[in-house]
């Protein structure tokens, strides 16, 4: 009896240990404190800043979990109250590297970091997600997420992130390159420019119907081919030098990667809201 009780207790402990490893390897809010093991499912939503309700967190977890299961790429969201001394990019990279995110030997995945103070966000990509999430995809994702964050709609930002991740990963699985949806506003702006240009061209063509114009010059009445120069001097006065900073490349994992402090190559983009 005593023997079978010890066996049962050992079995329960073993099962609990396995569950802890497989289901909820909980990361730490500090980007550098925890060690990691790749390919172990990590909680995809870590709301340290408390932006989300329990129901919202659960819903986003479900969405991101399905992506992980379907496409073998980690997708995660983390919110923090501050970044400490790090930039949003460094924080996101370190958090990703040090908390066990990423699937496969190249630790493929994508993570959205949202900071409360300063109001910044960053999307970091790694492994094959570095290639899957092209510059255009990251730019589009930043645009949509930032629009939600500006209105303090954190839940909306997370669902936008999850939705675009699903779209990009789904397209990649089907062999399609992600193309951001066309903006109707841009089409109307182009058509308005075409309309204005058509009006200008028509007005110019109409003006040719009147060719009685006043002359302002008398060049054709100058004898001997025009002017005879008697003096010509080019006097150097002064020089002025201006300098403008070369714009830094922002966003986009397509070819604009960087190496994190953990030694991994990351891509992505972000900004402030």
């Amino acid at each position: 009896m005593k023997r079978s009780f010890i066996l049962a207790a050992a079995l329960i402990m073993l099962m609990l240990g396995a569950m802890q490893c497989c289901v909820c390897a909980a990361p730490s809010p500090s980007p550098s404190s925890a060690s990691s093991v790749s390919s172990i499912a990590v909680n995809p939503v870590n709301d340290y800043a408390g932006f989300l309700t329990r129901e919202q967190s659960r819903e986003i977890e479900d969405m991101l979990g399905r992506l992980r299961d379907t496409y073998a790429a980690d997708t995660a969201v983390v919110t923090v109250k501050s970044l400490g001394a790090l930039s949003a990019e460094q924080y996101a990279d370190d958090y990703y590297d040090n908390n066990g995110f990423g699937i496969g030997s190249d630790s493929s995945g994508i993570l959205l970091l949202i900071s409360e103070e300063p109001r910044r966000y960053h999307i970091t990509t790694c492994g094959k997600c570095f290639d899957i999430f092209s510059g255009r995809a990251i730019d589009y994702m930043c645009e949509r997420v930032e629009a939600r964050l500006r209105n303090d709609d954190y839940y909306g930002a997370c669902t936008e992130f999850a939705g675009i991740c699903a779209e990009v990963l789904g397209g990649y699985a089907e062999g399609r390159e992600f193309k951001p949806p066309k903006s109707i506003g841009v089409l109307f702006a182009l058509l308005a420019a075409a309309l204005i240009l058509a009006v200008i061209i028509t007005a110019a063509a109409r003006s040719t119907m009147n060719n009685a114009k006043r002359q302002t010059h008398a060049d054709r009445y100058a004898e001997g081919g025009g002017i005879k120069l008697s003096d010509s001097r080019d006097i150097f006065l002064y020089s002025s030098v201006t300098r403008t900073p070369i714009p830094k490349q922002t966003g986009g994992s397509g070819g604009h990667g960087h190496v994190s402090s953990g030694g991994r190559v990351h891509g992505g983009g972000g900004g402030s809201y």
Partner: protein
């Protein structure tokens, strides 16, 4: 500490201070750099450059001089006016003359068909005349061809009935001859661009370009009739004055002739303006090699200015279309025709529609593929 002192130059017993060519603030001499420095904009200049700039700037901003002889009108003699008839238009008030065989004529200025014959008076004898070389049938043909080339011309307007009433008339002009000497200053810039790992740099070198020269202008025409609009008479230029003849009333045979009602003195300002502008542009054309050139003042001196009175051949056509009078003029020597043609609204709308369709399709394609 930077030692500075006001920059003064003793020049012909006169003490001068110099201003910055960039912003106009006073320049101060920096003993350390041996240059003049502007305390306002920070520009640094060599003393020779400042002196050259100030000298040229003073010259080109001096007053221009326009020397014209006074025109003395010549009266017609009795024998010269014997074959000339005078007419007046009761509609527009034009006072015109013509050969004795002129029958019923149409006023070339307003198209009125009932001009009135009256006694010849008040006209002065022109110095020379350029006879008509384009006859009436050629003039009509050219005007029709010219109208047909216009993109939006209404079909009804091209009907022969509308384009048949052309009238040949000599239009009075003042002809200006003069020699011009002058100078102009321009501001020229050259740019040089380079980069390092953090910044793009642009160095802009500023220059003053001083030019002086001379030119001879002959037979610059200014029309001397108020009713002959300047735009029309300017647009049918040039007239070839090598074909000019001494005036004889025989050239009026079969044609009308207007007399001047804008005096030579009143026309001088237009001649001055055209000649001066051309002269300045000729000087400017010698400033190649700069990224941008802007005018910095010019001064001209006219000499040997001579004014003559001449009659130039012009074919006139007035066409009433949909309640509006359209006027056309043609150089009776060269056949160059000008005018204000009516535009067909349907053709205009179709042109606009096609243009917008093409541009709109291009815009939509751009939006779709990019």
């Amino acid at each position: 500490m930077l030692k500075t002192a006001a920059f003064w130059v003793l020049d012909m017993d006169e003490i001068k201070s110099y201003k910055c060519p960039c912003c106009g603030a006073p320049l101060v001499f920096s003993g350390e750099k041996q240059k003049l420095r502007c305390g306002s904009c920070g520009a640094e200049l060599e003393a020779d450059a400042v002196r050259g700039f100030a000298e040229a700037d003073g010259r080109v901003n001096g007053a221009s001089k326009y020397d014209w002889d006074t025109y003395e009108p010549r009266e017609f003699g009795r024998t010269e006016t014997g074959g000339v008839s005078a007419y007046s238009c009761p509609s527009c008030g034009a006072e015109i003359s013509g050969g004795p065989e002129m029958g019923a004529s149409i006023c070339p200025y307003c198209g009125n068909a009932a001009i009135v014959k009256r006694s010849f008076e008040g006209a002065y004898m022109p110095d020379y005349i350029i006879p008509f070389r384009i006859d009436k049938s050629s003039a009509m043909k050219r005007l029709k061809e010219n109208a047909a080339k216009k993109l939006f011309i209404p079909k009804a307007f091209r009907d022969e009935t509308r384009l048949r009433e052309v009238t040949g008339m000599y239009v009075p002009f003042w002809m200006f001859d003069c020699d011009v000497e002058g100078e102009a200053a321009f501001r020229g810039v050259r740019t040089h661009v380079w980069s390092d790992s953090r910044y793009n740099y642009t160095r802009t070198d500023h220059y003053m370009l001083y030019r002086s020269g001379s030119a001879v202008f002959r037979n610059v025409p200014v029309d001397a009739s108020q009713k002959a609009e300047d735009a029309y008479m300017d647009a049918i230029e040039p007239f070839d004055c090598t074909e000019a003849m001494d005036f004889d009333t025989a050239y009026l045979s079969g044609y009308l002739a207007d007399k001047y009602d804008v005096s030579a003195e009143e026309s001088i300002s237009r001649a001055n303006e055209r000649i001066k502008r051309s002269f300045a542009d000729m000087l400017r054309s010698t400033t190649a090699g700069y990224a941008a050139v802007s005018a910095g003042g010019e001064r001209v001196e006219f000499s040997n200015g001579r004014i003559r009175y001449a009659l130039m051949p012009v074919w006139w056509l007035n066409v009433k279309y949909r309640g509006k009078m359209y006027r056309f003029a043609m150089n009776g020597q060269t056949g160059k025709a000008v005018g204000d043609y009516p535009a067909d609204r349907v053709k205009l709308a179709a042109f606009f529609g096609c243009t917008f369709a093409v541009l709109g399709a291009a815009a939509a394609a751009l939006w779709y593929f990019i």
